[in-house]
């Protein structure tokens, strides 16, 4: 094992910058964030890096390590034996300084999503197997690595057309909740831009919480959008049902189905 690692860290901001090389003594079990802290303590006290828990729970230390979006606190340096370790900020978001990216756009998107709207007042009686599905989505730590890797946002700058995988997960969390009564399907199709996702599953690959973002959130939501807007037979029966209800003069209740 080499007794030191060579780090090449991006130094700069949104307008200009370059990678600078630092050497860090190797310690068994060391993660990238440890090495960045070493650099900050010994070589570059002005190095900008965002971090909090150092335990893969807060989602703060997202960066791109040798080109791949990862949490610095969860990436072991011994995975990069014999390589120069390039550390860069998330590419999809504007850079504040060095490794710190401005992720505020995500919080603006979050505000647009209709919050959990229970049909009954709490406390709720639910079966565990009914909520297992949405509990997977609760594991999200909002590191925004999925947003960073999503080519729709990263390569096509389509922030005005697609909320991104993180917010598909959030919408799935509410939409599939057993006692939620709001209807987010129109928003998914229109403003949320779920059709922009072409299911290449990079978001799932980079998720440090191992949430099956595409298989369990995006695709089931796409199927709900297809149920509503792209399935002529279901559309026909829905219309037929609606007509029957109108004939029997019953009041129409907005429904998620």
């Amino acid at each position: 094992m080499s007794d030191q690692y060579v780090l090449s860290i991006f130094r700069g901001d949104q307008n200009e910058g370059e990678e600078k090389t630092y050497q860090v003594p190797a310690i068994p079990g060391m993660v990238v964030l440890d090495a960045v802290h070493y650099v900050q303590a010994h070589d570059a006290p002005d190095l900008g890096v965002r971090w909090n828990c150092k335990a893969a729970h807060c989602g703060s230390c997202s960066a791109e390590i040798n080109g791949m979006p990862k949490l610095m606190c969860k990436t072991r340096l011994d995975d990069y034996q014999g390589q120069v370790v390039h550390i860069q900020p998330m590419r999809t978001f504007p850079i504040v300084k060095d490794l710190v990216a401005d992720v505020s756009w995500n919080y603006e998107v979050a505000k647009k999503i209709e919050a959990f709207a229970p049909v009954n007042a709490a406390p709720f009686r639910m079966q565990q197997w009914d909520v297992d599905r949405v509990q997977e989505f609760h594991h999200c730590i909002e590191c925004f690595l999925c947003q960073d890797v999503c080519h729709v946002l990263r390569e096509h700058d389509a922030q005005d057309q697609y909320f991104g995988p993180r917010f598909m997960v959030k919408m799935a969390e509410f939409e599939m909740h057993p006692v939620d009564g709001a209807d987010r399907v129109p928003q998914l199709k229109n403003e949320g831009g779920i059709g922009m996702c072409n299911v290449t599953k990079c978001c799932t690959e980079v998720c440090p919480q191992h949430i099956h973002i595409t298989d369990n959130a995006i695709i089931p939501l796409k199927e709900r959008v297809a149920d509503r807007y792209y399935d002529p037979i279901r559309k026909f029966f829905r219309r037929l049902n609606k007509n029957k209800k109108e004939e029997s003069s019953s009041s129409t209740v907005p429904s998620k189905v």
Binding site: G17, E18, P69, H151, C202, P220, E223, R224, A226
Partner: protein
Amino acid sequence: MAQASQPGVGRPIKPSGKLPYWVEPVFTIVAFGGFVIYSLWEVFFHNTGTYHNYVSPFFSPGVAGWFGFHVLSALYVVWVPFLFRFSCYYYRREYYRAFSFHPFGCAVAEPKANRSRPYKGEWKINNLHRYAWFLAVIVLIFLWKDVVQAFIFPNGFGVGVGSLILLVNAILLTGYTFSCHAFRNMIGGRKDCFSCTAHGKKTTSYKLWHRISEANVYHGAWAWASLFSVWIADLYIRLLIMGVIHDVRLF
């Protein structure tokens, strides 16, 4: 709205992993491309796929025969599995990566040509995957009928290598078809609450959805395995028809 950043010098680095990022899409190009070329050869240069009691999956069911057509017989059938696989959520990942470079690999910059053609999202035709699923199930029923037929020889029940190949093919296609995301939605995924109408008990719909969700995790593996099994089954029967090989009867 935030603007996507295009920060400074030396970016982006091509991501490194256990395997280079290009290995998977190149495999897809070779395997899928090879299968498509083989299929074109099979569909446009052959009019029958039957060898004694074996029927190639390319030619089953014999729709052309039902209407009295005897040329391009496979063409009347293969559009169904093609449509099913083309609109499949797993294959979308593969072909968007390998053939349209949207993206070629995770965190890999797309080619400049992609920038001149604005990305508008996935093709809407893919939303009809559920209909392709129903058609694929009909074809699958015929393939199982062919499996039964493949074990019945002129002198009664028997097992040949061809019988086993067709059996494995039908099993893999069944796994692929019933681990489908659209089927998962139809069988219960569209519900928010399984127990609400069953007084807190697990419904059949929930149990089916749960089982299919377990199989769905391996949908990609089912997809590739069944693609290769169709290829092998057809090639085996084609070689039998051409007289290149002889079927081995096990008993």
